[in-house]
Symmetry: C2
Subunit: 291 residues, 2 copies
Amino acid sequence: MAGEIYYSFGFGVLEMKVIETIPEFREVRAGCKGTVGFVPTMGYLHKGHIALVERARQENDCVAVSIFVNPTQFGPKEDFKTYPRDKERDLAMLEPFTDFVFMPSAEEMYPAGYDTWIDVGSITGILEGASRPGHFRGVATVVNKLFNIVQPHNAYFGQKDAQQLRVIQKMVRDLNMPVEVIACPTVREPDGLAMSSRNTYLTPEQRAAAPVLYQSLMMANEMWQTGERDAAAIKKAMIRLIQSQPLAQIDYISIADATTLQEMEACHSPVLVSLAVRFGTTRLIDNLLLE
Amino acid sequence: MAGEIYYSFGFGVLEMKVIETIPEFREVRAGCKGTVGFVPTMGYLHKGHIALVERARQENDCVAVSIFVNPTQFGPKEDFKTYPRDKERDLAMLEPFTDFVFMPSAEEMYPAGYDTWIDVGSITGILEGASRPGHFRGVATVVNKLFNIVQPHNAYFGQKDAQQLRVIQKMVRDLNMPVEVIACPTVREPDGLAMSSRNTYLTPEQRAAAPVLYQSLMMANEMWQTGERDAAAIKKAMIRLIQSQPLAQIDYISIADATTLQEMEACHSPVLVSLAVRFGTTRLIDNLLLE
């Protein structure tokens, strides 16, 4: 409409800068005024990531997003090499909300002789940590590094990776890192499947079967709401439902204390129900908080 | 002289604040303007510590010193409980140079459920790390925490703890911590004994024998300056000199690459000669850089 002028200046969204080196990032970071919100990602973005970035935009003066497929959180037999990547699409999705995209190389993050690791203790040895040895050491280490580089006031993580969220919260609390970790709800497809970059691996048949994860969580919630407190009974019902899908192979189902992630027999609130299920070589995770 | 007026305001040395909790420290830290220099200590201060604090004072707008006898860097059979402490004397020594003294309790630093540790890799398993398993994990972890609490621009460490200095430099570099680590020369007694809070443990006879550490380093330096490059020959001469003191019991003598601390046979510059020697139950360390 004629006469209306939009000033982008002062809103932080002038032109998105894509930065590949740590010294360059430090330089632009030194120029940031006000609060910095940060969303660390491995790229191949979906609506779940964008929800985090939008929230960071709402709550901060500057928004930084990192795109880094972190080799140290993949096991030797995992999908590091085949993990989906699409830089151009990612940048186009971020452009409306983001001031700085940090896209370092593996050599920039782990130069020759790199040898320092963060161990977040017993919480990293169970569930995903048991299925993926070393995974959370890699996650904690790269997030620690990214926090030291980006120096955000607020950092946004999805509840979908519930254990990762707790590992990072524990690392930040234990190490007194000066950053607020903000947990954001899982974003789902219309049929309930949690958004994940790995959903792209699914064949059409597997994709059709995959909502059984969410369905089993909904069933657990229904049992919980109608008074069931026996973890074994809830697990048994979930297993039966998931096994009704012949393409689904259960890795684990956990009913645990929502903070410590210690397994429970008789449930008391808040409970985290979480599960990992394989469809062929693709491994999906999901979870739900019962309160 | 009449007419001369000194303004302490603006020089940062108004009144030294002693702070015991992390939230309180964060509050005063948020009010600091300009650069912050930091000296982490375990207290029972001597001239070596004060040299670090004076340097921090010269190079920064604000000076913070921590006094914390860190339990996690002591082995179960080491001297954590008997480590010398003298709060009043320490504060009096710091007062002329220091804005903030951070003196947390063990519970403030390691609350119930604490479980996050920094592992700085292979450099922590040799020399002091071999003699004191877990020592550098405790050192790296507490220094990481203190850096996150104090958020200094510059942090000052003595060369006397040469391996500790390298562990911290490596942690800072690997984890991209936004702090400059500044190495300061070892301060010595007139007879050459390196200043150490543990010197207070020595009996008069042991104290009289202890300068043999420095003498052996001086001899190594003389051999080096006159062209000796065979590590075994230098070690052999050092051992003979130290064994001339019947109270001295050698823990290790190392002739190593000054950066990686890997042992050398044929020396090439720069070389770190380091040693640990026991006098009764008291273990002293010292080192010298050959260039």
